[in-house]
């Protein structure tokens, strides 16, 4: 299933300067429901900064971010999350003292309205389904400390999904995973988009991202240098120069 309806996330003229350094410069892009938008760029291109501006981790210098037509720029992270924008962390951040199930239930925090046993029981069943969905079946009551790194990444995803997001932000989800785990991850992300959830995926690994994304935004030195279908991005000489060129130097 491809993109549907109008954009759920609209970013207009977003800029962020740290002192004299412009990390993100006049960035425009949008994400639709059910769409996987990939954002790539070499290290230091401004991907993580863009991510953190949308999630509310730090304030923007200028620009606008609309979620569901409401301006969310300048809101603290918990208020953005409450509106249905949930995220994963690049370096897994589980709640260490809790079971896998409780971790996932924390993700559902924004959905709790009353304090009834029934609501708790419903959320619990839903959380168990999500644990199953990401492939952590059988670990629900396990302590999170017993999970492997790859399982921890899956937990990040189940936790974010528990809040029934309308937009999910993935911060380099492929980082540190083994090839077999990457296939599984791609399958999960496709499954999420198929549910009609908008996906913004920030990723360093082009080989993982291009087959997965519906559309790709390429950043370099904080500015957008390309925006199009994965095939167009593959053929774009500016992208190859900026991205693969800088990549080649590392090897």
């Amino acid at each position: 299933m491809g993109p549907r309806q109008g954009p759920i996330l609209e970013v207009r003229g977003l800029s962020k300067r740290f002192g004299g350094l412009t990390a993100v410069s006049a960035l425009d892009f949008e994400v639709r429901e059910g769409e996987i938008l990939g954002m790539i760029g070499p290290n230091g291109a401004g991907k993580s900064t863009t991510f953190n501006l949308i999630a509310g981790t730090y304030p923007a210098t200028s620009g606008e971010v609309f979620f569901n037509r409401e301006s969310i720029l300048g809101m603290p992270p918990h208020r953005i999350a409450r509106r249905g924008v949930l995220r994963t962390f690049q370096h897994n951040r589980p709640f260490e003292g809790m079971s896998v199930l409780d971790n996932v239930l924390v993700g559902a925090h924004r959905l709790f309205t009353k304090n009834s046993r029934q609501e708790e029981a419903e959320r619990r069943i839903r959380a168990e389904e999500l644990i199953e969905f990401v492939g952590l079946g059988g670990t629900a009551s396990a302590d999170v400390g017993t999970l492997s790194f790859g399982q921890g990444r899956l937990l990040e995803i189940a936790r974010a999904l528990a809040g029934e997001p309308r937009l999910i932000l993935f911060d380099e989800p492929a980082a540190g995973l083994a090839p077999a785990e990457l296939d599984r991850l791609a399958e999960i992300i496709r499954g999420i988009a198929a549910r009609g959830i908008a996906v913004l995926l920030i990723e360093h690994d082009m080989h993982f991202l291009l087959p997965l994304a519906h559309r790709v935004v390429v950043l370099n030195f904080g500015a957008k240098i390309a925006d199009g279908l994965p095939d167009e991005i593959r053929r774009n000489p500016a992208v190859m120069d900026a991205y693969l060129g800088s990549h080649a130097e590392h090897h």
Binding site: H78, R82, P94, V106, G107, E120
Partner: protein, 305 residues
């Protein structure tokens, strides 16, 4: 049903004990009540605060001053006493939880110190260094609650505290508290208002400590500054850590053990019991960093396999 059984057993025990042992027993129950509340604040919500025992004192002094200096009727005095605790707790928590962790520790340490200073310098209102004494619990519905019967009131407050905390702990609020303790940034990313969660947990547990203090006021029928000294705040912290931080059962074990230990130790080692006490504490923390409750957990795991 289980709660009723617990009430009957815990209160009934008072009738089997002599005057001296009943006095020790009541104070133990109050320490357990305090440790349960402090465990929620420190163990579940991860807030390092040293004001819990001060709120116990604020509750005790408030109810005594309201009743006997201002002649407020008992039900109103209880409500106002709780209100005093809530207002003071909010005044401390709102500014300090907006900053990072250790500011709360500093602010609450200052509050605990300031409280004792205010008690000593409070003139006729607080009774100064001598405190306030020679008062009696007013009659409730025409009844005078005395002797072992008053232990029932303490048990009631203990069980009510435990019930509230268990209910909270199993709710989304309790989970939010644990999330804030374990990883505040991830908690915020899940929609949890970290500052508000901390303020609510701090205010609520402080109010519970205040209620326990009100009950204490009629145990010895005297309140004075040395009772509410800062060293008690550290004893509470030790109780929770030795028993098993974040666990209700851990708080109970820690409180009972650490409260009774000096009574067992002082006949054996005399004045050196404080030193032995310290060594035992250190050993317990080094050998069982997850608290004594972890021993029980391991035993249960082995049994169920």
């Amino acid at each position: 049903m289980r709660w009723l059984a617990a009430f009957v057993v815990l209160s009934g025990a008072a009738f089997l004990l002599g005057d001296y042992h009943n006095d020790v027993y009541r104070k133990m129950l109050l320490w357990v009540t305090l440790a349960l509340g402090y465990n929620f604040l420190f163990g579940v919500c991860g807030q390092v605060a040293f004001s819990h025992f001060a709120f116990y004192g604020i509750g005790a002094y408030s109810v005594v001053i309201l009743l006997f200096q201002l002649n407020v009727p008992l039900p109103l005095a209880i409500v106002l006493g709780v209100l005093v605790c809530i207002v003071v707790a909010l005044a401390v928590a709102i500014p300090s939880t907006r900053l990072d962790g250790f500011y709360l520790a500093l602010a609450t340490l200052a509050l605990a110190q300031l409280f004792v200073v205010v008690l000593n310098e409070g003139g006729s209102v607080t009774g100064g260094t001598g405190g306030i004494a020679n008062y009696r619990l007013p009659a409730i519905f025409g009844m005078q609650i005395r002797g072992p019967w008053y232990t029932g009131v303490i048990v009631l407050v203990l069980l009510l505290t435990l019930w509230i905390l268990m209910k909270l702990d199993r709710s989304w609020f309790g989970r939010a508290c644990r999330a804030v303790r374990d990883n505040p940034e991830a908690a915020a990313a899940m929609g949890i208002n970290v500052a508000r969660t901390k303020v609510i947990a701090f205010t609520l547990t402080s109010a519970l400590a205040g209620v326990a203090g009100m009950v204490y006021a009629f145990v010895d029928n005297t309140v004075n500054p040395p009772i509410f000294g800062l060293e008690n705040a550290f004893l509470l912290l030790f109780m929770v850590i030795v028993g098993g931080s974040g666990r209700h059962a851990g708080a109970v074990i820690g409180a009972v053990l650490l409260f009774l230990l000096p009574f067992w130790l002082s006949p054996i080692v005399g004045h050196h019991h404080v030193l032995v006490f310290g060594v035992l504490m250190l050993a317990a923390i080094l050998v069982q960093p997850k608290g004594l409750i972890a021993i029980w957990d391991r035993g249960r795991d082995r049994f169920s396999r």
